[in-house]
């Protein structure tokens, strides 16, 4: 393997993981506020389809991304409404939406299958792109990729550095306490779920307008579930979540190289590998024995907890003001 190949592969992973990053950060924000939006797989499909359809008909990428975000927010609003207002099971609603949005994308996406449409244009950042190695990986991409990287740090900054971010942590951990401090818990949850959904939608459009350009049936099937698992893997932390997305992207690259390296093994086995690894990763982050082991001393417990990440204390629960 020559260095150029390695550099290009890293650049590819960064680019191809961009939609996953949007989805993971979006879901992380929603879950941090206490609402699980399980519909991701369907939302991504539907927003990818709408994004492409709008781009195809209007030739306007801004409109396309906007439409995709609206779709994501709309689906999320159903989840938010049903859990916050109607106090329904978030999982049931999310699951139904997963299937429904998938079918909607097929039904309405029919006229757009395999049509050539506009794509997010490549945009090398002048100057920076010429830096050896780093330039090629980070600055020879397009706006959407830059945004995905910016989003990671913006989300981190928002959650851990700003006052609204502190509130966000609070409403997910202990809504009653946040309420006592003047936070309108349910309104905030609604907003974050919508923003999260919009980001997921943006991720969907990133597929159909860049990473997997165009639209076809079940264009992004399965990726939403991966995103949900990565949120857990990332311990509800945007930077670790993004890392999870990049690791997944890397795994996919490995599986296409592995075909040449392990000629005895059917290719589909490698395609399955990320899912098996997902289980193993979840097993690792939620393992009781490891938990006990590291809880022995306060120091190791602190390290372990920061490594593992704990779910927001009030995740998937309903907040009712007395």
């Amino acid at each position: 393997m020559d260095t150029n190949f390695v550099i290009l592969t890293f650049a590819s992973i960064l680019a191809e993981s961009a939609p996953l990053v949007f989805a993971v950060i979006g879901e992380t924000l929603g879950e941090k506020s206490g609402v699980t939006n399980l519909s991701l797989d369907g939302t991504i499909l539907l927003s990818a389809m709408i994004g492409f359809a709008v781009a195809f008909t209007t030739n306007n990428l801004y409109l396309a991304f906007l439409a995709a975000m609206l779709v994501g927010a709309l689906v999320a609003s159903i989840v938010a409404f049903s859990s916050i207002v109607l106090k329904l099971d978030q999982i049931a609603v999310g699951f139904v939406l997963t299937l429904l949005c998938g079918d909607l994308s097929t039904f309405f996406g029919n006229p757009f299958v395999r049509k050539p449409g506009p794509a997010v244009p490549h945009f090398a950042i002048p100057g920076l792109a010429e830096i050896p190695v780093v330039g090629k990986i980070f600055f020879d991409q397009n706006i959407v990729v830059y945004l995905s990287v910016l989003l990671i740090f913006a989300a981190w900054w928002w959650i851990y550095k700003t006052r609204p971010g502190l509130k966000l942590q609070g409403i997910g951990e202990r809504p009653a306490a946040a309420f006592a401090r003047g936070v309108n818990v349910n309104a905030q949850r609604f907003i974050y779920t919508l923003i999260g959904g919009a980001l997921v939608g943006f991720g969907g459009a990133t597929y159909s307008l860049f990473v997997k350009l165009g639209w076809s049936y079940h264009h992004t099937y399965g990726i939403g579930w991966i995103a949900l698992a990565i949120v857990i893997f990332g311990g509800w932390h945007p930077i670790r979540g993004a890392l999870g997305a990049y690791i997944f992207g890397g795994l996919q690259s490995v599986s296409s190289f592995a075909q040449s390296a392990f000629t005895d093994v059917p290719t589909q086995v490698f395609q399955t590998a990320p899912f098996a690894l997902m289980i193993i990763a979840l097993l690792f982050v939620s393992n009781e024995a490891l938990d006990r082991f590291f809880s022995g001393s306060p120091v190791s417990r602190k390290i372990w907890n920061s490594l593992r990440g704990t779910p927001p204390g009030a995740l998937s629960t309903v907040f009712e003001q007395e």
């Binding site: 550095k161 006052r163 306490a177 309420f179 006592a180 401090r181 003047g182 936070v183 007395e322």
Partner: protein
């Protein structure tokens, strides 16, 4: 700030939780609010602090009428409340908690908050690490943090809802010092409790509630007897106890060590004989629950041996404990005892020892009906348990116990119950004791411990004192042990 509550009313369905309550508190004083369980103390304070809305009445601050939509408004107006279980964010740091709710700009003003925190800490002599997680603090320390937070937000009236329940004696002394200091600085303090001693020590004036009504107001100096009469209508007498001949040893603990992730209590030795009642005293969370669960087979002790009726039970499954006539009554009735969504009949079937595979619903319903009568549960066989009142839930739990038990372990058996229910629960337990059961119970209520225990095991600061003979122990002694003195 001068506070006046005038003719406050609050209904919860049929319950008239606050019935025409009027209180006036001058600034710079500590006002006590006393009452038995369910008297309406918390309700009144929640109304004052904006958590719930009154049905009728007036709240005046310095003569100005106010109506708070939510707690944040109350704080802005200068009213802050400290809850019994501090309403904070355990997974966040001390500084984050302190910051939360301060409205000064978009970014987190950490430097400013830190300076504030340190200023208050110096003022009261508190010592909190700003970067520590709140989950690693004691309840006392969390109260300190809340006090500083509310003061930093400009609170002039501070409400303390039973602040002494979960803290150690030194912490209590520290808290009282702080409260006096606050009063001296002109704060208005309302101190909710049902501990007579605390009220005597601290409050210049005390209002007593009973069943939602105000039964009286007394000013310093007052006597405990006065208060008791106002709280219960008459002064309580301890009834003479029927003596029971002690039988075989039922439970033996040899060098047991129980632990969870934050607490470790080593070297517990105890022998309990049939007919004996052991009270576990101590601040809540000092290991009583861990010990009860270990004895019930629900948790494994870290070290030592548990013997039940002559059999070593280490690492035996929970169901073997059940087989041996061990029963455990948890404190969280709907969380770890009853199954919300199932009705009484279904509970009785599930608790049955005989495990017939097919259910005869008609017979089960009849059996449930008679059990409901026997335990005077207010409900029908088809009542879902979550629809029962707390006292009736406790009755239902008792009704689920097998008839012939050797060892009954109870956690706060009468918490939240009224006097009548409390008496009834104990009459049931004492009857079982007559039949040869041994009883081990934990309670936060020292009176209950004194009244019913033969021996008392005191938990404090990660240690357990040698079992005391209840007859030979004074309240003073016990209080000191709980507070960590002489252990």
């Amino acid at each position: 700030m001068r506070l006046e509550l005038k003719h406050i009313h609050k209904h919860f369905g049929a319950v008239h939780a606050n019935d025409d309550i009027s209180i006036a508190v001058e600034s710079g004083t500590i006002h006590g609010l006393l009452g038995e369980n369910g008297a309406g103390k918390s309700t009144l304070m929640k109304i004052l602090s904006g958590f719930i809305h009154r049905d009728a009445g007036e709240i005046l601050l310095d003569g100005r009428a106010v109506a708070f939509k939510n707690p944040a408004e109350a704080i802005r107006a200068g009213v802050g409340m400290l809850h019994q279980d501090p309403l904070d964010f355990p997974p966040l740091t001390v500084l984050d908690n302190f910051l939360f709710g301060r409205e000064d700009g978009f970014m987190q003003n950490r430097a400013g908050a830190l300076a504030d925190l340190q200023r208050f800490s110096r003022q009261f002599g508190f010592d909190l690490d700003p970067d520590a997680l709140v989950s690693s603090l004691t309840v006392g320390e969390r109260q300190q943090l809340e006090i500083m937070r509310l003061l930093s937000l400009g609170a002039k009236i501070l409400i303390f809802d039973e602040p002494t329940t979960g803290i150690s004696l030194p912490q209590k002394i520290k808290l009282f010092e702080t409260l006096r200091l606050l009063a001296k600085q002109g704060m208005t303090i309302i101190f909710v409790t049902h501990k007579l001693q605390d009220a005597e020590d601290l409050c210049g004036k005390v209002t007593v509630l009973r069943l939602g009504k105000m039964t009286g107001q007394v000013t310093h100096p007052f006597t405990a007897d006065q208060l008791v009469r106002l709280m219960f209508g008459q002064s309580l007498e301890t009834r003479a106890r029927a003596s029971v001949a002690l039988g075989e040893p039922i439970l033996e603990l040899r060098d047991i060590c129980v632990a969870d992730y934050r607490l470790r209590v080593p070297e517990i030795n105890l022998q309990v004989r049939a007919g004996q009642v052991i009270g576990l005293a101590g601040i809540e969370g000092s290991g009583q629950r861990l010990l009860l669960r270990a004895c019930a087979g629900l948790d494994q002790p870290v070290a030592g041996d548990i013997w039940i009726s002559g059999a070593r039970m280490n690492r035996q499954p929970y169901r073997d404990f059940l087989e041996r006539g061990v029963a455990y009554l948890p404190a969280g009735r709907l969380e770890e005892g009853l199954v919300p969504g199932l009705n009484l009949t279904e509970h009785f079937i599930l608790a049955r020892r005989s495990r017939e595979f097919f259910i005869d619903w008609r017979a089960a319903q009849d059996a449930a009906q008679s059990r409901i009568g026997e335990y005077s549960i207010r409900g029908v066989p088809a009542s879902r348990v979550e629809a029962l009142s707390g006292g009736n839930q406790q009755r239902a739990l008792l009704a689920l116990l097998q008839p012939n038990l050797n060892l009954i372990l109870l956690e706060h058996p009468t918490r939240g119950l009224d006097i009548e229910s409390t008496m009834w629960v104990w009459s049931q337990l004492l009857a079982r004791r007559q039949r040869g059961a041994a009883i081990v119970f934990a309670s936060a209520d020292l009176d209950e411990i004194f009244e019913y225990s033969d021996r008392i095991l005191v938990f404090s600061g990660g240690r357990v004192a040698r079992a005391l003979n209840a007859q030979e122990t004074s309240v003073q002694q016990l209080g000191e042990l709980i507070g960590g003195k002489g252990l």
